[in-house]
């Protein structure tokens, strides 16, 4: 089975590719470049095309499927009209699949399930990354706030931090929020 993964995000394409590589009897092609997309798909002559829902070239590819004689058989949307759950899961995960008409559903279903899982895994990865970045930024704000307290009130570092924590507890807020307020106030009062 020939599978084309069309994704402008090379990183996500790699995550999907890695997941599908575990399947037997599959040849996988990754297409990340928008230019020449249609010609490339023609060369690959895939049985299945996986494409993320956020790809602006979906309309181009659908037109190609609708009018082209380059592929031997027309390509149908998703797996099977009756397989609503599978389709809903795909849309939820953000992946669309085009399948050569007539391909047996039992061959497609596991592949699509796998693709959906990989898409979801990638989305989680990104969320984790965003959270890690957020945590890093919070860490920096807390450090800045500590330095402001140390400079302006002559506190040692441990006590500056304890001050922040105590205030946060008293106000029912997160330390990062208090630190942010300290930094903002300091900037407003003419500090750097």
């Amino acid at each position: 089975m020939r599978i084309a993964i069309v994704d402008e995000s090379a990183m996500r394409a790699a995550v999907i590719h890695e997941g599908l590589a575990a399947l037997d009897d599959c040849e996988i092609f990754v297409v990340t470049d928008r230019r020449g997309l249609v010609a490339r798909i023609g060369e690959i002559a895939p049985d299945i095309v996986l494409m993320d829902l956020g790809n602006p070239s979906r309309d181009v590819l659908e037109e190609y499927f609708a009018v082209s004689r380059a592929l031997a058989r027309p390509i149908a949307m998703f797996v099977d009209e009756s397989d609503a759950d599978s389709i809903a899961a795909s849309v939820e995960a953000g992946v669309s699949a085009y399948v050569v008409d007539g391909m047996a559903a039992h061959r497609i279903r596991p592949l699509l399930d796998l693709a959906v899982r990989r898409f979801n895994a990638f989305a989680r990865l990104q969320a984790d990354l965003a959270e890690a970045k957020g945590k890093l930024a919070e860490r920096e704000t807390i450090d800045t706030a500590k330095r402001i307290l140390m400079d302006s009130r002559g506190l040692p570092e441990a006590q500056a931090y304890a001050e922040l924590r105590r205030t946060a507890m008293n106000q029912g807020k997160r330390i990062a929020d208090i630190a942010e307020a300290v930094v903002t106030a300091h900037t407003l009062m003419g500090g750097r």
Partner: protein, 402 residues
């Protein structure tokens, strides 16, 4: 607690009414909490609609009909209770081609530009390098309008010129790279191409058909029935948004709203031009004012005339080459739902036409028409070739087209 209602859209100026209905509180005043979901391909807007991620979508009108008829996807009946606007698209050519066939400094006469283009198209075909045009979707008004104009000017689409799909954000790139010689697209994408020097605007679609149906609000038929009261509330909110949109006093604020990252993520200056019916045709030129370039409100512009759906069906048949099917014609006509529009606005001050279908393109001047409520004066609604479309005889109309 207001009812949440989700509307999918593509970042185009004519997604304005749902955006403004949310931003100015018109939806909220009708008891709706409008949530807008932005996508960047019509395929994805449609998928979200079909699989229930959205309740309604800003959609190219022919795609609503194609979906109902099961073109390219399993058939799913869609319903259109509201037309989001008429026209608002333009034909932009690569600068050297524009200077060859257009009228510098102004919008050209469609017949004259078409005749000049026919000469170039012949030469390019003879040279084995056919002219190529980009449209945003094959089931789009852009595609049908471009083809209507070319065919009426003696240029045979698909034979003498190629027409391919190009996503709106890539139109300027495609012109610049020479992947296409011209595009027919909505705003702000013509203006983006002009600003970059990648293209010059030679025509607007309002010159091809003075009152051509463009984007619609589409829902799955089943969802429309389930949420009928909310849909009618939305229709009222969108009418109010339309009145706000066309008032010159609001152009600046509305352009700024539409330009935001969560909506068009574009340039407010370019957006304001489209809203005010003004376009820069070529870099370094003067703004040209073309009244009713976009048409969002007057003359009951949002009324889903059944005859508009039928005209779109005739064009689908014309270019698909599958032949006219009376059953499909009826299914296509039923996509437009004037009954919902009427029941939403009955008893408000909004004008409601007396009829639900009309001969398209037959009015040369201003005409007062019979109404169910209020008064409506229709202005010229002609096609540039003076052909009229009588919905009573679809097959006859098709047979007479070039």
């Amino acid at each position: 607690m207001p009812n949440e209602f989700v509307v999918g859209f593509l970042p185009l100026v004519d997604a304005c009414l749902p955006i403004l209905a949310r931003e100015h509180g018109f939806a909220e005043a009708e008891g709706l909490s409008l949530r807008l979901v932005r996508d960047i391909s019509w395929a994805t807007v449609l998928d979200r609609l079909l699989y229930g991620h959205s309740d309604a979508a800003h959609l190219v009108a022919p795609l609503a009909i194609a979906t109902t008829l099961g073109r390219d996807r399993p058939a799913q009946p869609l319903s259109v209770p509201f037309v989001l606007g008429l026209n608002g698209n333009a034909v932009t050519l690569r600068p050297e081609l524009a200077r060859q066939v257009g009228t510098p400094g102004q919008l050209g006469d469609p017949a004259r530009v078409g005749a000049a283009l026919a000469v170039v198209a012949q030469a390019r075909k003879a040279a084995g390098k056919r002219l190529r045009f980009g449209v945003v979707h094959r089931h789009s008004s852009h595609n049908y309008m471009l083809r209507y104009w070319l065919a009426a000017c003696g240029v045979r689409p698909d034979e003498e010129v190629e027409i391919v799909t190009v996503p709106p954000p890539f139109c300027a790139d495609a012109l610049e790279a020479g992947e296409v010689d011209g595009i027919c697209v909505g705003e702000p994408w013509n203006s983006v191409a002009v600003e970059r020097g990648a293209g010059e605007i030679v025509l607007v679609t309002a010159q091809i058909w003075r009152r051509g149906v463009e984007k619609v609000l589409a829902l799955r038929e089943a969802r429309l029935e389930e949420r009928r009261a909310d849909v009618e509330a939305l229709v009222r909110a969108l009418r109010r948004a339309g009145a706000h949109f066309v008032d010159p006093a609001n152009w600046d604020v509305n352009a700024a709203i539409l330009a935001r990252p969560e909506y068009l993520d574009g340039d407010a200056v370019l957006i304001r031009r489209a809203i005010s019916d003004r376009l820069l045709l070529a870099r370094g030129g003067e703004l040209v004012h073309f009244p009713d370039f976009m048409f969002q409100h007057r003359e009951a512009a949002n009324f889903p005339w059944v005859s508009q759906a039928e005209w779109l069906y005739t064009q689908m048949v014309r270019w698909e080459g599958r032949g006219f099917d009376p059953g499909d014609a009826i299914r296509a006509a039923r996509v437009f739902r004037p009954d919902v529009y009427r029941s939403a606005l009955l008893g408000t001050g909004e004008p409601l036409p007396g009829a639900s279908s009309k001969v398209e393109g037959s009015l040369k001047g201003t005409t007062i028409v019979g109404t169910q409520q209020g008064s409506i004066t229709l202005e010229s609604n002609q096609f540039f070739d003076d052909r009229a479309f009588d919905p009573a005889d679809l097959a006859g109309y098709l047979a007479r087209l070039p």
